[in-house]
């Protein structure tokens, strides 16, 4: 088990290195000079040189890359250019925000969609089924930023039920923090539900055609038990890994929602860093994004056999 995990990590290593390499050089190809942005509308070659030197941007690229690799392998992500603070701290705070947004959202989506999906699959080709599928399709057809906008204006402004301003960390003030998270989490959850329900449904349809389900019935099990005990784990197999992927992707890719609800999350941090050409922050974000993606997949892959023992042998 642990050995397996270790070897999988080893396998992931090149992936991570390649992606970091790509991103490192890509962002440096982007036109725009962080030093000049710091200077603003002042045109002063001397000052520019000084700042670039300070930022270590005057060294040859490959040297910069190797220095950076050595640094991060030692856990040091450097200092932000634009925000003049340790990138590590920035990453930690913003990642925690994103995590608080994404993990509950995916969890909720999962809790909603597994029963819904299995139910509609069990009722295949009935009106219930059609209704569920249509609803799901509709959900994943609504762009999250629009949904977010509407939700915000209805519940936040018009009905004045929930706060719309940015963010209060639940760690500082739990109750308040939750209230701030409700809308973004719900928006994200709805969209993801759309995706999951369809997945769960299709894999349920596959499973329920199999012989062991018929056999479970032949044993005289009531439908509910057949669904819960015999279908559920096998349906969860594919769903679980899918959720892992979704989670891994969203942890880095929730930019839009974060923008709509102005959450200081990882995506926002990175997009703004890109605009500000804040190389260390961009790189840091990329490390976190890639890591969380790889790690999430690994975690879900390793836990899959617990959820669905079948995958252990397949």
């Amino acid at each position: 088990m642990m050995k397996y995990a270790a070897s999988r990590m080893l396998l992931a290593l090149p992936t991570i290195l390649i992606s970091l390499f790509m991103i490192f050089f890509m962002i440096r190809l982007i036109p725009g000079d962080p030093a000049q942005i710091i200077l603003g509308d002042v045109d002063d070659a001397g000052a520019l040189q000084r700042i670039r030197a300070e930022l270590g941007l005057d060294k040859p690229l490959i040297v910069q890359f190797l220095l950076w690799l050595r640094a991060i392998s030692g856990g040091d992500f450097g200092r932000s250019i634009a925000l003049d603070s340790p990138v590590g701290d920035l990453l930690f705070s913003s990642f925690s925000v994103t995590a608080l947004l994404v993990i509950p959202a995916v969890a909720i989506a999962g809790l909603l969609s597994v029963p819904a999906g299995m139910f509609s699959a069990w009722r295949q080709n009935t009106h219930t089924d059609a209704a569920v599928v249509t609803a799901a399709t509709a959900f994943l057809s609504i762009p999250s930023f629009w949904l977010g906008l509407i939700v915000m204006l209805v519940f936040g402004v018009k009905l004045d039920l929930l706060p719309v301003v940015g963010y209060v960390s639940p760690f500082d003030d739990f109750g308040e923090g939750i209230r701030y998270l409700i809308m973004p989490v719900m928006t994200l959850a709805l969209v993801e539900t759309g995706v999951f329900v369809r997945l769960v449904r299709s894999s349920t349809i596959e499973v329920k055609g199999l012989e062991y389900i018929t056999h479970a019935r032949a044993k005289g099990l009531p439908e509910l038990l057949v669904a819960r005990r015999h279908a559920f784990p096998n349906v969860m197999g594919p769903t679980w890994t899918m959720m892992g992927l979704a989670l891994g992707g969203l942890l880095g890719g929730a930019v839009v929602i974060e923008t709509v609800f102005s959450l200081p999350g990882l995506g926002r941090l990175m997009v703004e860093a890109v605009f500000a050409r804040d190389y260390p922050v961009i790189q840091g974000c990329m490390v976190v994004i890639v890591m969380s993606y790889v790690f999430m997949n690994l975690v879900f892959e390793l836990t899959a056999p617990i959820i669905c023992p079948a995958v252990r042998y397949s």
Partner: protein
């Protein structure tokens, strides 16, 4: 709803919005506009801008200038304290200024004081416990103005404990009416009134005068997203929302119990014209563009009626703004078309580069395009990302560039944005020897009358050469909840929250 917000909020911090997080707490070193706004509450310099943009004394009680204009002797007010309780003496002044003048510090405005642009501080010396002497390499009429410059951190006087042993920045230990309590990245900056603060006698005036922290707790909420900023204001979660983008004025109109406080600002928005470009090398085409634009209409739309057109690079608010008689800049489509015909313009596209980060720059570009279309000028808009546009600007690689200059106290500073030796810095679009000479003179003399004269000449010259098509000078617009008293907006646009406070229901 207003009522209960006040009740619920009567005991909370005084909350104001900030459109983006501050860069650092290191005044004049790692900064942007928002950083300046916050820091102006924490730090103070020897001098500071008054309401009219001229420098006045702040920490200094008095100042003597030698007849040759080379020596400035400041006398500090007695009994001033740093936020750590230490008394303010000449020693800290000398320390602070030597720090600024040390290239290692990376002070934004170093080049104005180290001779790069001709002006240099020869030495900073403590004369006695309260007296400090500055000696200059030559008479510098703008010396005080530059000391007070907000983007330079207003020459903040800091206690040495602001930096650590290696000289790295720790935290501002300064003399302002507020002191820094907590800065939560990307979230908020929390200040509290500094009990040991000693206000000046005379009434509040610009960044100087009596600065009283009426609200004990002042919190800058970082809300990057415009929509949520407004929502916050709407729901009374913040008391003041400064720097309202023109686009949001309309919405604020809908919000109850909120009023707009605005004033014309220094700074100028316009189009930079690259006359090195083969097509635009032809003065007639440049002028044709200028003539095609109806500045007042444009200013009106872009600013939702809060600003008027201004063909000069010098803001209306500035004392040096050209008189109406020579201001010019009226649209004349006929003449514009005629010029184009003369120049034999064949409708080949002219690229106008702009960005989305600053809506005003973006919108003015859209309108310029639309207006030029009427005279048959084919303008293509190219939207760059701000960082990319800055590159283009510095390299002078553009045909037309939609641009806005931040507030500068002195007209000379405004002109030096565009006027200069192109060989040395390609960002300069105006390299006319005559103009350069005029600018140089304006920097040499301190005589108001003479300077007015020089700037008017410069303006006329600019209208002729059209290196820059001034469009308008923006207004500083602030949304203030009605239960807030004492807020005033001004030409520098950097909101000031001292002397501001919430009136409790009872008091109404």
């Amino acid at each position: 709803r207003g009522g209960d917000t006040v009740d619920s909020s009567s005991n909370r911090n005084f909350l104001v919005t900030l459109s983006s997080d501050i860069r650092s707490t290191n005044p004049g070193v790692n900064r942007d506009a928002n950083t300046d706004t916050v820091m102006m509450h924490i730090v103070e310099g020897l001098v500071a801008y008054r309401e009219d943009g001229t420098p006045g004394l702040l920490l200094a009680e008095s100042m003597e200038v030698s007849d040759d204009g080379l020596a400035y002797l400041f006398k500090l007010r007695d009994g001033l304290k740093f936020h750590n309780g230490a008394p303010v003496t000449s020693a800290e002044v000398v320390w602070s200024w030597r720090r600024y003048l040390d290239p290692a510090t990376g002070w934004t405005c170093l080049s104005d004081f180290d001779g790069t642009n001709g002006n240099r501080i020869e030495e900073v010396r403590a004369v006695d416990r309260l007296k400090v002497l500055f000696r200059l390499n030559r008479p510098q009429p703008l010396f005080l103005s530059q000391m007070a410059a907000i983007n330079c951190g207003a020459g903040a006087i800091l206690h040495p404990s602001s930096v650590d042993a290696q000289g790295h920045w720790r935290t501002p230990v300064a003399t302002g009416p507020y002191r820094l309590v907590e800065w939560k990245r990307g979230d908020f900056i929390h200040l509290e009134a500094f009990p040991g603060y000693v206000p000046r006698m005379e009434p509040r005036n610009g960044n100087t005068g009596a600065k009283r922290a009426l609200e004990k707790h002042l919190t800058f909420l970082v809300i990057r997203d415009a929509a949520s900023r407004l929502a916050a204001l709407d729901k009374g979660q913040v008391d003041i929302m400064p720097e309202v983008p023109a686009a949001e004025i309309r919405q604020i109109g809908h919000i109850k119990r909120v009023r707009l406080v605005s004033a014309p600002m220094l700074g100028s928005y316009g189009i930079l014209v690259q006359n090195q470009d083969p097509l635009l090398a032809d003065g007639r085409i440049r002028e044709a563009i200028a003539l095609a634009i109806d500045r007042d209409a444009l200013a009106n739309i872009v600013n939702e009626g809060t600003a008027v057109g201004n063909p000069s690079i010098v803001a209306d608010a500035s004392v040096f703004h050209p008189p109406a008689s020579i201001l010019g800049g009226k649209p004349d489509l006929e003449r514009s078309r005629a010029l184009l015909r003369e120049a034999g313009y064949d409708g080949s596209p002219i690229v106008l580069s702009t960005n989305r980060r600053y809506p005003a720059m973006f919108n003015q570009a859209l309108l310029v395009q639309a207006m030029c279309r009427q005279v048959g000028l084919n303008i293509r808009i190219e939207v760059l990302e701000w960082a990319a546009q800055m590159d283009r600007w510095r390299a002078g690689k553009f045909q037309l560039l939609s641009f806005g200059f931040s507030a500068r106290a002195d007209a000379a500073a405004s002109y030096s944005f565009i006027l200069g030796n192109r060989a040395r810095s390609p960002s300069k679009v105006w390299d006319n020897p005559k103009a350069l000479a005029l600018l140089e003179q304006s920097l040499r003399t301190g005589d108001e009358e003479r300077r007015h004269e020089l700037f008017n000449q410069l303006h006329l010259l600019m209208l002729k050469d059209v290196p820059y098509i001034g469009l308008f000078s923006p207004a500083d617009i602030n949304a203030v909840r009605e239960d807030v008293d004492g807020f005033e907006s001004w030409m520098f646009g950097r909101a000031r929250y001292w002397g501001v406070h919430r009136v409790r229901e009872g008091a109404r």
